[in-house]
């Protein structure tokens, strides 16, 4: 019992779990909404996007944190941006080489991770003032928090919008024969807006109850 208390109260654990729930980048901080609308039609693209962003934000936070005492203040943001941009392009290259179909679907959105406020936000507010290990965990948590929301939205949209999960049909043909129809609206970006809105509402309501 004491041991688990120690782990859950350690700073590392908190750093990692805060952005998963209580301080989630999308549902609480409202960052990275743009890509969340675009890549959540299918679970697969949402997961790959979540993993790519996690990779970028974790490593950029760690690298920036390693350099935090050496970066000249007047070119601070430029240096942060070059680190982030390099990692994003690396992730994009790897996707193009090994996950070609997914990279085609994600198209510009992997590249746009560079401008995703979550990455720059974590670098500025956390990595510059904390040691590399914690910065890495913070990035990992933020990326995972983003990925979890993306996957949840994509789950709802793929299930209702095309009757599939991870590309496999889950709604039996007999339902369609009986007159069931996929909700075409779920395939469009506004649907993601509404789902994210509902998720924010749900999370706020739950956290209020806990007090």
């Amino acid at each position: 019992m004491d041991d688990t208390m120690k782990i859950t109260h350690s700073q590392a654990f908190k750093t990692f779990t805060e952005p998963l729930g209580r301080n989630n980048p999308i549902s609480i901080q409202s960052l990275g909404i743009c890509s969340a609308l675009a890549v959540t039609v299918q679970i697969k693209t949402a997961i790959v996007m979540g993993l790519s962003l996690t990779f970028v934000v974790a490593f950029s936070s760690m690298i920036i944190s390693l350099m935090r005492h050496h970066i000249p203040r007047n070119i601070r943001m430029i240096v942060e941006l070059s680190v982030i941009a390099t990692l994003v392009i690396l992730a994009d290259e790897v996707l193009q080489a090994f996950f070609y179909d997914i990279s085609k679907q994600l198209s510009v959105f992997v590249g746009l991770i560079i401008t995703n406020c979550i990455v720059m936000g974590r670098a500025e507010t956390f990595a510059l003032g904390n040691p590399p290990g914690l910065a890495f965990l913070d990035g990992l948590g933020s990326g995972a928090g983003y990925g979890v929301v993306l996957a949840t939205v994509a789950f709802i949209r793929e299930f209702l919008g095309s009757g599939k999960l991870l590309g496999y049909p889950v709604i039996p043909q007999s339902f369609y024969n009986a007159g069931y129809e996929n909700m075409g609206f779920m395939q469009l970006a506004p649907a993601a807006f509404i789902i994210i809105g509902l998720l924010v509402w749900l999370q706020k309501a739950l956290s209020k109850e806990k007090g």
């Binding site: 240096v79 070059s82 690396l90 193009q96």
Partner: protein, 235 residues
């Protein structure tokens, strides 16, 4: 060391390290990316002739095998004659033949035209009668997702199958994208020359119609030869 000098040196060092990393990654992964492009091209040709199902997944090896077994990449002279395998000629047109029992079943022509926001690239397969479209695919475009971007979706491409590039008298008219549904907007005798349009993407449809007309016109000599049954296996 002055602060400014330190900033400049730091910036230069960051730039060198980042660019070295990126160059290494780009060079190291190039063979994989090139192969992906080749396989993707083969996949789209196979999709145009109907050999693979757009909804199923195929391994790169399976695609390469299907492609080498069924498809021949040849050239046609400007007069429409299909050149033998090793023969080349200036101003020759590139095309692919889907061979069944050594006889061409379909011929596939490359589509390279402009859309509203950038180039549209794909393939159109025509049956050996020289006028019936047997498939159409798009593998690259920059149209707006959900609007013009629908040209890459199966529902749009499926509409091309069975349409004609000739009118009822057999003269070339090309294939057009209608403004809205064909059944509502196109008079009866011309319905075979139009596919359903995409709502909210009139301009993409207009550019695609114009581009297809130019390309099909360019390949018309080949199509005429097919229509007149002049094409067989010229060994």
């Amino acid at each position: 060391m002055s602060d400014n000098l330190k900033s400049v040196l730091f910036a230069v060092a960051t730039a060198i390290i980042c660019s070295t990393l990126l160059t290494a990654a780009a060079l190291g992964l190039k063979p994989y990316k090139t192969r992906n492009l080749v396989v993707d091209k083969q996949k789209n040709i196979l999709k145009a002739v109907g050999l693979i199902d757009a909804n199923k997944r195929y391994s790169p090896e399976a695609i390469e095998t299907l492609y080498t077994q069924n498809i021949k990449n040849l050239h046609a002279a400007p007069d429409g004659r299909i050149l033998a395998e090793n023969e080349t000629q200036e101003a020759a047109l590139s095309l692919w033949l889907y061979m069944v029992d050594e006889q061409p079943q379909c011929y596939v022509i490359p589509i390279n035209t402009r859309g509203l926001w950038g180039p549209i690239r794909g393939y159109m397969a025509l049956e050996k009668d020289g006028s019936t479209i047997s498939g159409f695919t798009v593998y690259k475009h920059s149209e707006t997702p959900g609007l013009g971007g629908e040209i890459e979706r199966a529902w749009f491409q499926k509409n091309f199958k069975g349409k004609q590039i000739t009118d009822v008298t057999g003269d070339f008219v090309s294939i057009g994208v209608a403004k809205g549904r064909v059944a509502d907007t196109v008079p009866d005798p011309k319905q075979a020359n139009f596919v359903d349009g995409i709502s909210g993407a009139t301009l993409t449809g207009k550019f695609l119609t114009e581009g297809l007309k130019v390309i099909l016109h360019e390949y018309e000599p080949v199509s005429i030869n097919f229509r007149q049954r002049k094409v067989s296996t010229q060994k």
